[in-house]
């Protein structure tokens, strides 16, 4: 029972169908090189399907359901299933088994316009109705200046994640968990993206979802800009503002990416300053710092190894109120639809005051 409770609570390892920035620069300059969305994630385009096939051990047809269910050109279908099992280390080693993601998705296009929507399950919420478990995390209408190409202007309106930061798949990455892009922070908004091989900029104005018990309580905007330096490096800046009833959060940060071809090594980094102003009661203002660096390298047999270091200073006024982590993730791309992932973390408070960790095996099936 204890394992079940811990497992359910530790749904923390949920990963969603976001992009693999580990492939940027080493494969294509932009997320749109492989994805339909201007900021990556979810459905793959033709090139992305080719990469999924070529980067996996067994290959196989990367299309929806291995190509068994053909769809017309204007319609694209997909989906994501994920689950995990392993050991957590809260005080002593404990086991955990849990579902993580079950979603289907579709996109229909007509000329420069397209409609995207996903639907799936989320955990029951005892404070909500039974219908809470079924939801659509993202659904939007998009206009693309150059349909069929991977650059130009994109405009989206609907429910989606404001573009911000490195956008790694693992939401427990510190810069996402404690920074400006936590899990399920999709909101209704309008986003404008301009993407080229040399640079890209994404601006989103958003309002919290007042209907679907959203995680994001605030209204505001997000901005992310990235400039490529040559073909092997990129730097980015980011900002986000979110005003809720009782607090206001402002995020400002930088990102960096460097690909070392000789070593086949991609280095990723992000640092953010987070300012939270409590406007209720007597009020208060907290400044936090959060950073994450990752080294990613392909290994023989279609493996991919990520080593990450995270740091979080929760409040710069309080000495010692900080935590650090080291992550090691080993991906194995069995075929173009199936990924096995061993993900581990060791986390310590204030350089060893106390901490925890986990080692989990994940199965990810892309439909």
């Amino acid at each position: 029972m204890r394992a079940l409770i811990v497992g359910l609570i530790l749904l923390v390892s949920t990963r969603l169908a976001y992009a693999y920035p580990q492939f940027q620069l080493s494969h294509d300059a932009t997320c749109t090189g492989c994805h339909i969305s201007p900021d990556g994630g979810v459905l793959l385009d033709e090139n992305g399907l080719g990469v999924a096939e070529s980067e996996s051990w067994q290959g196989h047809d990367a299309a929806f359901l291995y190509g068994l269910l053909g769809t017309p050109d204007w319609l694209q279908l997909g989906g994501e299933l994920r689950g995990a099992a392993g050991l957590t280390y809260p005080r002593a080693l404990d086991s955990a088994v849990y579902p993580m993601q079950g979603e289907v998705e579709g996109r229909a296009k007509a000329g420069a316009f397209s409609i995207y929507a996903n639907a799936g399950f989320r955990r029951p919420n005892v404070n909500q109705s039974v219908a809470h478990v079924i939801w659509s995390r993202e659904h939007y209408v998009m206009w693309q200046q150059k349909p069929g190409e991977n650059e130009g202007l994109y405009v989206r309106a609907g429910r989606f994640m404001p573009t911000f930061g490195l956008r790694l798949a693992e939401h427990i990455v510190y810069t996402q968990k404690y920074g400006g892009r936590p899990l399920y922070y999709e909101a209704y908004g309008v986003g404008v993206s301009y993407v080229t091989d040399k640079a890209e900029v994404h601006a989103t104005g958003f309002a919290s979802d007042r209907i679907a018990s959203a995680a994001e309580h605030g209204d505001g905007g997000a901005l992310y800009g990235e400039m490529r330096i040559g073909t092997n490096a990129a730097v980015g800046i980011e900002g986000k503002y979110s005003k809720a009833d009782d607090d206001t959060r402002t995020y400002a940060g930088v990102t960096g990416k460097l690909f070392l071809p000789a070593a086949e090594l991609l280095l990723l980094g992000e640092a953010q300053l987070v300012r939270q102003e409590i406007t209720a009661g007597a009020g208060d203002t907290r400044n936090a710092l959060v950073a994450y660096v990752m080294a990613s390298r392909p290994l023989p047999s279609n493996l991919l190894l990520d080593i990450g270091l995270g740091h979080y200073t929760q409040d710069t006024r309080v000495k010692g109120l900080l935590r650090d982590c080291i992550d090691a993730n080993l991906h194995w791309f069995f075929d173009s639809h199936i990924e096995l992932l061993l993900t581990t973390r060791l986390e310590r408070l204030n350089f060893g005051q106390s901490g925890g960790g986990y080692a989990l095996a994940q199965l990810h099936v892309r439909l």
Binding site: Q128, G256, G281, V293, Q314, R317, V318
Partner: protein, 123 residues
């Protein structure tokens, strides 16, 4: 980005802060600065998920959750911590919370000081 610069930033961040803890001992501060970041994460005790029916990511939710745990003020001006301490410490019969990494000592002290010394003002 240079790893060297990031490492320097981490060391700088580690050197930040003052002693003693100057954070205000108010309901709003302990909710948004302690409970929400660590207990009210979206997949745990949030408005979105509400594990065990408890929400710590809003003032309204935190007020209800703390009261449900037995936290309350007293006429003698020393608040009662209810089951909160038992959960934070993982006392026998209680699953320690948070289950992944415990609250930092500084956060536990702020929380308990607000309850006991400030008589859970604002709850």
């Amino acid at each position: 980005m240079s790893t060297r610069w990031l490492f320097a930033a981490v060391l700088l961040a580690a050197a930040c802060g003052t002693t003693p803890d100057e954070r205000p001992k108010t309901f709003e501060a302990v909710t948004f600065e302690v409970l929400a970041p660590h207990c009210g994460q979206v997949q745990c005790h949030s408005t979105f998920t509400a594990t065990d029916g408890k929400e710590f990511d809003t003032l309204e939710g935190a007020r209800a959750a703390l009261q449900d745990l037995g936290v309350h003020s007293n006429p003698d001006m020393r608040g009662s911590t209810g089951e909160l301490v038992l959960l934070l410490e993982g006392a026998p019969g209680y699953e320690r919370m948070p289950p992944d990494v415990p609250l930092a000592q500084e956060d536990r002290e702020l929380l308990l000081s607000w309850i006991v010394d400030e008589n859970a003002a604002g709850l």
